[in-house]
């Protein structure tokens, strides 16, 4: 379970302050596919980066299974990050490494046994349907395939949570659907909690059981996907859904 309490993030010096996030409160339950929905610049990416402390919140707590991540030492934080997988809009694969080596990367960091690492990596490539691409390099793959490799890499440490930062925004419609189906399977079969950032209503509606709508750094609405979509109470959510006024 991830609980975010009174989290704020401010960028810049005192004169040029920019309040990226203001007093965010969220609870994400185990097994959720939780969508954070908002326009560009609303603060979604900053929020998801606060969950594994790639961004350090200015104020507030990030409780991961009850432990406040903001209070951890650097090495404790690195350990925590290993239990939280992450995938990115532009895949962020290492271009000079093979697919297999990319997937093994998180295990290489902890000097895991090479043979076991390779077996684990191959198992995940099998899961994402790319077993035959183990020796290829990212530049030889399509966008959808690259994101599958990134998913395998994010899962290699057996995380309980996976953060997805606009994971399908660079992909076409059909590929997006395939990636979302894969994420659903991972959620259902491996029990991985998924936190997904998106500006796409279609994506949120297709995959999320719960959503939060964020605007100008504040959560304006949250709840079950169906409830939020059928009865948006905030102006922003109504505008996002195309229901003006």
């Amino acid at each position: 379970m991830i609980q975010i309490e009174h989290l704020s993030k401010t960028f810049g010096s005192e004169e040029t302050q920019h309040h990226a996030l203001v007093d965010i409160n969220l609870t994400i339950n185990d097994g959720d596919i939780f969508g954070i929905l908002g326009e560009s610049g609303a603060g979604k990416s900053t929020l998801v980066r606060c969950m594994n402390l790639l961004e350090r919140p200015t104020q507030g707590k990030v409780l991961v299974d009850g432990v406040d991540a903001t209070q951890l030492s650097d090495s404790q934080l690195r350990t925590l990050r290993r239990s939280i997988g992450m995938i990115f809009q532009n895949f962020s694969l290492f271009q000079q490494r093979s697919v297999l080596s990319n997937v093994m990367f998180p295990l290489e960091l902890v000097r895991a046994d090479a043979k076991q690492s390779e077996a684990r990596a191959r198992e995940l490539l099998e899961l994402v349907g790319l077993a035959d691409k183990a020796n290829a390099y990212p530049a030889q793959l399509s966008g959808g395939q690259q994101q599958r490799v990134a998913i395998a890499r994010a899962l290699v440490n057996k995380p309980r949570v996976m953060l997805c930062d606009e994971a399908t925004s660079a992909l076409d419609t059909i590929t997006t659907r395939q990636i979302l189906d894969l994420l659903k399977d991972i959620n259902r079969e491996l029990g991985v909690t998924i936190i997904l950032i998106t500006h796409s209503l279609v994506v949120a509606r297709y995959i999320c059981n719960r959503v939060a709508v964020i605007d100008a750094g504040q959560i304006v609405e949250q709840g079950d996907t169906a409830t939020v979509f059928d009865n948006p109470t905030s102006d922003v959510a109504r505008a996002l859904l195309g229901l003006e006024g």
């Binding site: 594994n52 790639l54 650097d74 090495s75 690195r78 350990t79 925590l80 990050r81 290993r82 939280i84 992450m86 990115f88 532009n90 962020s92 290492f94 271009q95 000079q96 490494r97 093979s98 990367f105 998180p106 290489e108 960091l109 902890v110 390099y137 990212p138 530049a139 030889q140 890499r153 440490n157 953060l163």
Partner: protein, 225 residues
Amino acid sequence: MEAISAFFNEYGALLAGGTWDTIVMTGLSTLFAYVLGIPLGVAVVVTSPDGLRPNRAVHTILGWIVNIGRSIPFIILLVAIIPFTRLIVGTSLGVPGAIVPLVVSAAPFVGRMVEQSLLEVDASLVEAAESFGANMWQIVTKVLVRESLPSLIRGVAITFIAVFGYSAMAGMVGAGGLGDIAIRYGYQRYQGDVMIATIVILVVLVQIVQSLGDLAAHKLDKRNR
């Protein structure tokens, strides 16, 4: 034909020896310049405002060292640090005497080249590595250096060629090598044929080094399909 074979009979050994001295001088200087320049370049990147461990003071001082090192013309540096050169290798003459000033001159240059190569690595890859729990050392070695390897190799070729040029200047103070031969025979004894032979050798060597560098970088770069 006869003139050419007569020329090689007389100067072949001299030119071969000079070529070998130049290659050794340049190769060793480039090697030692990288031993100093890689940590320097990494430190500049790591301490930069957007770096892994921002440190304005260290970053500024390293920047000065790099710029001062690169702003002193080699021919002046060569003479200016003779006492230092004697301290390190016991002589300011010959190949050993040339290597010290060549390294001192090339290391800041290498530092800047390494910095540029590392900066080419997409910041999102660093972020991804951090998200998997990589520490600073792992990010430097497994992401920054590894991902910029083709660019670093290109830098080695450029550095080698620059040091090559400097090593000819070292010839002026009796450091040996092709520069020394060009000065003594070509300039002081008006032997234009020896001068031209050294130039041809230098041009050919530069072409070989650059081609090898390009080839290695291209072969190594997995972004090429």
